[in-house]
């Protein structure tokens, strides 16, 4: 029998129609919806008298615009309209919605896994590029545009050209104080922001197998930052045990049956990929970005580079523009860069284990006076779990603000904005110009590195802080 990758197996199971000279028509098992990229899609359905084909496979929440303090005071009337529009659309088309008052509300890529909606072998789409997060379960999950959202609502299918496969093998074991965020940042720094364009990535290797589901989600989340629409990890017992007992997962005997099917989806021994890239976990130190795209970063022991260090003309120019925007001098030691804001949150790093890692560093320390630090749990459930463990107390006693769940300062669509010229240590996924606010300067780091920056007032190698036990 032909050896197949998990990517090929999932693909084959979902082809509705295949014709020469056309992309395949793929069936979609789960369509996640949020308030920003859906209104025009629902409007399109209405204009054409179309219905939602499978409301039972569609699940909505509001996350991008929601306030993280004063939950019910949405200052921006346009944000408010967008949230109300989602409510109306869900009511009209019969779609389940976790709205602002719902106990399941949260960032769409946090709640899908948490509720057990995300499962191995599923095809999952959402009008959001970080849908790749769900790939951690061995699902084929990718972001789509609003036209495609409308197409999936109307037909439960999508036209897709079969992607090439790219294996990213992370060999060996991670060192002390190094988190899964550091793995993905190191991968992007090494291979570039378009290494995965046209591919679906599968993360393999000893270091990936050793990760928890939440850590795998952080890695798959940022596949898109390496150019790949989807990134995934073959299902294993870690995957199965995470899903056991979750509300939308199969229950009892059915779960055991499903678990067998899920495990069989893993990439076959000896299957081949179109391309393989490798990296050694032992070489990865805590990472930090210095520029304006996620590949512009290095280990924390590094320095801000000079444009002259790059060979290609386009890279020299990009680095020059980046340093200018970031207000950085070439040759500056990364640990000499000070911070004004710290954001712990986003679909990359707002899960319970992320908050625990940050709290471990914050415990008994104080946020520096010149630093504003906020912690935004990924969902209401994460918030409650964290509070039950007393993490909120650790953060607030250290001087961090403890907020309600949402996308928040990752993209600053609500009131959580980094002011112009201010520098932010952020656990999010994009350090683009203006992402966290017009003129804001973003440095991407792991949760424990972000907490370390908050308490030291500058970027710091978290391994140097005593009491870090990871």
């Amino acid at each position: 029998m032909m050896k197949k990758t998990v990517i090929e197996k999932i693909w084959e199971n979902h082809v509705v129609s295949r014709e020469e000279g056309k992309p395949d028509l793929l069936y979609i098992d789960l369509h996640l919806v949020h308030e920003v990229t859906s209104p025009q899609a629902f409007e399109g359905l209405r204009m054409n008298g179309r219905r939602v084909r499978r409301p039972d496979l569609t699940y909505a929440t509001m996350d991008h615009n929601v306030p993280t303090i004063n939950r019910h005071i949405v200052n921006d009337p346009i944000s408010k309209t967008q949230m109300q529009t989602l409510e109306q659309n869900c009511r009209e088309f019969g779609i389940e919605l976790a709205d602002i008052d719902h106990p399941d509300q949260g960032i769409v890529h946090v709640i899908g896994p948490q509720l057990g909606l995300t499962q191995p072998g599923k095809t999952i789409v959402c009008g959001d590029s970080h849908t790749s997060t769900h790939g951690a379960f061995g699902a084929l999950a990718f972001g789509i545009g609003t036209s495609e959202v409308e197409h999936v609502l109307a037909t439960q299918t999508i036209w897709q050209k079969q992607p090439k496969t790219l294996q990213i093998k992370v060999n060996g074991k991670l060192g002390f104080g190094v988190q899964s965020k550091d793995i993905i940042l190191a991968i992007i720094a090494k291979f570039g922001v378009n290494a995965g364009t046209g591919y679906v990535m599968e993360f393999t290797g000893e270091a990936i197998r050793a990760l928890s589901m939440e850590q795998r989600m952080t890695i798959c989340n940022m596949s898109i930052e390496a150019g790949a629409r989807a990134g995934l990890v073959s299902p294993d017992m870690t995957t199965v045990e995470y899903l056991r007992g979750r509300r939308y997962a199969p229950q009892g005997e059915e779960f055991e049956e499903a678990a067998k099917r899920w495990l069989a989806l893993a990439t076959d021994e000896g299957a081949t990929y179109d391309k393989t890239l490798e990296i050694d976990a032992a070489d990865i130190e805590p990472q930090m970005t210095w520029g304006t795209n996620p590949s512009m970063g290095s280990g924390i022991s590094g320095f801000v580079p000079s444009p002259d260090e790059f060979d290609r003309e386009a890279d020299k120019e990009s680095v020059r523009l980046a340093l200018d925007y970031m207000g950085l001098e070439a040759g500056t030691r990364l640990t000499d860069i000070s911070v004004d804001y710290v954001f712990i949150g986003s679909c990359t790093n707002s899960r319970l284990s992320d908050l625990r890692a940050a709290a471990e560093v914050a415990r008994g320390r104080k946020v520096q006076d010149h630093v504003t630090a906020i912690v935004v749990p990924g969902s209401q459930t994460v918030k409650q779990q964290a509070e039950a463990e007393g993490l909120d107390k650790i953060f607030t006693e250290a001087g961090f603000q403890w907020r309600e769940s949402g996308c928040s300062m990752c993209l600053a669509m609500n009131d959580d904005v980094v002011p112009p010229g201010k520098r932010c240590a952020s656990t999010s996924n994009r350090n683009f110009e203006g992402r966290q606010g017009n003129g804001a300067r973003t440095h991407l780091v792991s949760p424990s590195m972000a907490a370390a920056a908050a308490v030291m007032g500058r970027f710091t190698d978290v391994r140097e802080l005593a009491g870090v036990n990871q």
Partner: protein, 199 residues
């Protein structure tokens, strides 16, 4: 969407790589619930300063490039967020054609679905065009049927495009109608997988 085949227009060069969708349309403009009207916000933070005044040094604010309908830019154009507001904004502003060495996957899909032709040329060809287009009024002729890009002084380049996307752009198809015309296959798939009919 509007079909497209032969197109001639003035070119605007933006010599930057990795132009992300946050630059094409910043997040504060994603709150509208319509598809129209995003053109006024395209490249907002490059076009306007913090007080909303035009930045004179940005090419789109140069009146000599006001009529541009073809955008030439560096590699990995449209990376980042999946926001379709990016092609909506480019189209609404007046760009029907984009030329770059490479595109992010989601942006490329989103463009096709809005009738924008995103042409892939080699690094060298794009470099040539970036140079020539720095002279205001420089025009290019695009022929989708022939998959060619030409100017009036001897530049000719041919580009690859997936035959399915090509057909969609040439015909201006509404993809949902195309899919629903084959709804029977979706029904059969659902019958097989779910043992049930949904329509």
């Amino acid at each position: 969407m509007e079909p497209i085949n032969q197109f001639t227009g003035v070119v605007c060069p933006i010599n930057r790589a990795n132009i992300d969708t946050d630059q094409i349309i910043p997040k504060q403009f994603l709150k509208r619930i319509e598809r129209q009207g995003f053109g006024q916000f395209v490249f907002y933070n490059w076009r306007f300063d913090d007080d909303g005044n035009k930045r004179e040094d940005f090419i789109l604010n140069d009146p000599k490039f006001a009529d541009a309908e073809i955008l030439v830019a560096g590699e990995n154009f449209g990376c980042g967020s999946s926001r379709e507001h990016a092609p909506w904004a480019l189209l609404d502003y007046g760009f029907r054609i984009i030329i770059a060495p490479s595109y992010a996957d989601i942006f490329y899909n989103n463009s096709v679905k809005n009738g924008i032709l995103a042409v892939k040329l080699t690094d060298e060809e794009v470099k040539t065009l970036l140079g020539r287009a720095s002279v205001p009024g420089f025009k290019l002729h695009i022929n989708l049927e022939e998959q060619s890009v030409t100017d009036d002084s001897g530049f000719t380049a041919y580009f690859d495009i997936d035959p399915y996307w090509k057909k969609m752009l040439l015909n201006g198809w509404d993809e949902i109608s195309v899919t629903l015309s084959a709804e029977e296959r979706i029904r059969q798939f659902e019958e097989k997988v779910y043992g049930k009919q949904y329509s």
